[in-house]
């Protein structure tokens, strides 16, 4: 899952980045409104953590521009502005959630997880697909109740696919969601990760749709 982190305070941004990366998210950063708007407008993010008081272009304007352009990516506003009228303005501008500073990092991570889950129509924080479960809170994966150890990249691929059971996901799409923008991307590595996942999980779980991509096939999923 790929997150856009927009925060102008460098120290807080670094703390957020560390926490998000530890939670197995891929993080792109912006420290001003213009860059944030550009990134959100051109890259496929699974969620945005958006500060409001930003240089060049304030957060609410960034959000409105995305929504006006029809961009539906889930946005969590993270701001020091805690008056209720500011919260109403934020939600009415199109935010999906609103968290005020200071905050507990666990709270932020829980809300980001919930945001991504809701965006893909999942109700529970524990995703299930046949014998496989993935707990988005702890990052634990089990098959028939037995824990499975995955590398960070394997986890990211599985996480992305399990949020979209039954949907065909192209290699490019997977690449875009498990690597940050400045990363050296190679879509061939996706095949390697999928191959390793197939060895660790029941073989028939991830189906290759020739010429299109991959799909989780073992219903019931959710």
């Amino acid at each position: 899952m790929r997150i856009l982190l927009v925060e102008d305070d460098a120290t807080l941004r670094a703390q957020l980045r560390t926490a998000l990366v530890e939670a197995a998210y891929v993080v792109d950063e912006a420290d001003n409104g213009r860059d944030a708007h550009f990134l959100g407008d051109t890259e496929p993010f699974d969620a945005v953590v958006l500060d409001l008081g930003l240089p060049q272009l304030d957060g609410l304007s960034v959000l409105r521009r995305w929504r006006d352009a029809g961009r539906t990516l889930p946005v969590l506003i993270l701001t020091a502005r805690d008056a209720w009228n500011e919260k109403v303005a934020g939600i009415d501008a199109g935010a999906d959630d609103y968290l005020t500073k200071p905050f507990h990092m666990e709270e932020l991570l829980a809300r980001v997880r919930a945001l991504i889950r809701r965006a893909s129509g999942q109700a529970s924080p524990v995703l299930r697909c046949g014998a496989v479960t993935l707990d988005t809170r702890s990052g634990r994966v089990t098959v028939d109740g037995q824990p499975v150890t995955l590398t960070s990249h394997e986890y990211k691929v599985l996480d992305y696919l399990m949020h979209r059971p039954g949907t065909v996901v192209s290699r490019t799409e997977l690449t875009e969601h498990i690597y940050a923008q400045d990363h050296d991307r190679d879509s061939n590595t996706i095949e390697v990760f999928v191959g390793r996942l197939r060895k660790k999980l029941p073989g028939e779980l991830i189906e290759t749709v020739r010429g299109l991509g991959y799909r989780l096939v073992a219903p019931p999923c959710g």
Partner: protein, 463 residues
């Protein structure tokens, strides 16, 4: 028309007008009655002089040297009617100073005589007296002394008298009619003055009404056109209100900026302490950051609220504020699958206060309810007399009666596991009290907590 209030402009104007009117009319009464009396007296005098002239012409001496009057010359029937009110009399004044009154008299004098002081002037000069007459009459008397050529040493004092009662009666009647007419005129003028005052002061009434609608929160400025004398006052007053609004907006912006400036570093410090290896330093930082957060939160909330107080003309409709907050609750607590809804919220229900303050109170209460609810949160509001009653119900575990008082205190939290400053309810209490309202916690009929907010309402304009 409303009764005239004491110490009012209307009373001052009316009193001044009425007193002036009364003085002017009383003066007119005295002056006109005097003029009339003088005129009547002058006419009486003229008639008396004519009579005394006639008497003078008729007086001659008979062969015995006794005075006589040719009765054919005196035609007025009143001469012969006893005590008729018109009299004549002739006195003889001897050369030696002897006086013989009443040598000749009108029959109307009957058996009485006219008695005048002995101050007869030179021959032929007319002389006026007021003297007592028969039957208590007050008489106006004209006298003249003359000498007949036949008796050069004897002077004859001719006097003609008329009862003053008749002229006094006429004067009195005239005064009565005059007084009644002037009183009628005075009444008409007083009514005109009342109308004038009403028309003249109508703009002040309009200003008063404009102030009332402002105070009731039905407008935020003094509205309407006023006369040239009042317009500058109205403009200045509106200017003060506008500046107040601007100062308030600036204070709020500054409070927001201060919040932003303080909270981000506090967030950084708190996160750093949480991520650091456990130890006394990390713990101290965590505690102090929490304390600082609470202080910032509390004082910013108070600064935002206190700034709005005393500003007249505040009116905030409840329904849109509640709708905005419900949208926020729907998102912020989306993961909990709650039904958060407004019930029976009349669209014209309005809070006599500032929008952000109502948002702060309702927002904190709704947020609290959403944190604790199992399935649903409802907000309902109604007006009772001059109060706005807002109930926020949740179906959560509720709060034991013994603990309800405590949770309204600053910084008290029943559940330390959920995030929150523990200030939300205390801020609501503080804000409600600033508006003269209250917050009460109770069990709601469906189980769970009911938070009841009582605030001043904007009065219904129709009532």
């Amino acid at each position: 028309m409303r009764l005239i209030a004491p110490n009012s402009l209307r009373l001052r104007l009316l009193a001044a007008t009425v007193v002036t009117l009364a003085l002017a009319l009383a003066g007119a009464q005295v002056w006109l009655a005097g003029l009339f009396r003088d005129e009547v007296l002058r006419q009486l005098d003229t008639a008396l002089v004519r009579q005394v002239d006639q008497l003078s012409a008729r007086l001659d001496l008979d062969t015995a040297g006794q005075p006589r009057i040719d009765p054919a010359g005196l035609s007025d029937p009143r001469w012969d009617q006893p005590y008729s009110g018109l009299y004549w009399q002739i006195d003889r004044l001897g050369a030696d100073g002897s006086r013989l009154p009443g040598v000749l008299r009108a029959r109307s004098l009957w058996d009485t005589q006219l008695v005048l002081p002995a101050d007869t002037l030179a021959d032929g000069a007319l002389h006026w007296h007021e003297a007592a007459g028969p039957q208590g009459q007050v008489l106006r008397v004209v006298e003249r002394a003359l000498v007949l050529p036949e008796q050069p040493h004897t002077r004859w004092r001719l006097m003609v008298a008329a009862d003053l009662g008749e002229t006094q009666g006429a004067t009195k009647r005239f005064s009565g009619v005059l007084a009644a007419s002037l009183a009628g005129l005075g009444l008409l003028l007083a009514l005109a003055a009342l109308a004038q005052v009403a028309v003249g002061l109508a703009p002040l009434k309009a200003l008063q009404r404009a102030l009332e609608t402002l105070r009731d929160g039905r407008s935020s400025r003094l509205e309407g056109r006023f006369p040239a004398e009042l317009q500058p006052l109205v403009q200045d007053f509106n200017g003060v209100l506008e500046r107040h609004d601007a100062v308030l907006a600036r204070a709020r912006t500054q409070a927001g900026n201060l919040a932003h400036a303080l909270k981000t570093p506090l967030a950084v410090l708190g996160n750093a302490a949480a991520a650091a290896p456990p130890g006394p330093l990390a713990q101290a930082v965590t505690e102090q950051v929490q304390a600082a957060n609470r202080q910032v939160h509390w004082h910013l909330a108070r600064a935002r609220a206190a700034a709005a107080l005393g500003q007249p003309g505040q009116r905030t409709r409840v329904a849109p504020v509640a709708a905005g907050l419900l949208r926020v609750m729907g998102r912020v607590h989306a993961g909990r699958g709650l039904v958060v809804e407004a019930k029976d919220l009349a669209p014209d229900l309005a809070f006599a206060g500032e929008e952000q303050d109502l948002q702060e109170m309702l927002g904190n209460l709704l947020d609290n309810a959403c944190r604790n609810a199992r399935f649903s949160v409802t907000v309902q509001a109604r007006r009772r007399d001059r109060h706005l009653l807002i109930d926020i119900d949740d179906d959560g575990p509720g709060i034991a009666p013994a603990q309800r008082e405590a949770v309204l205190q600053r910084g008290v939290r029943l559940d330390e596991s959920t995030p929150g400053s523990g200030l939300g309810l205390a801020i609501v209490v503080e804000l409600a009290q600033l508006y003269g309202g209250t917050l009460a916690l109770d069990a709601n009929p469906a189980g769970g907590l009911r938070a009841s907010l009582r605030l001043p309402a904007v009065p219904d304009p129709s009532s």
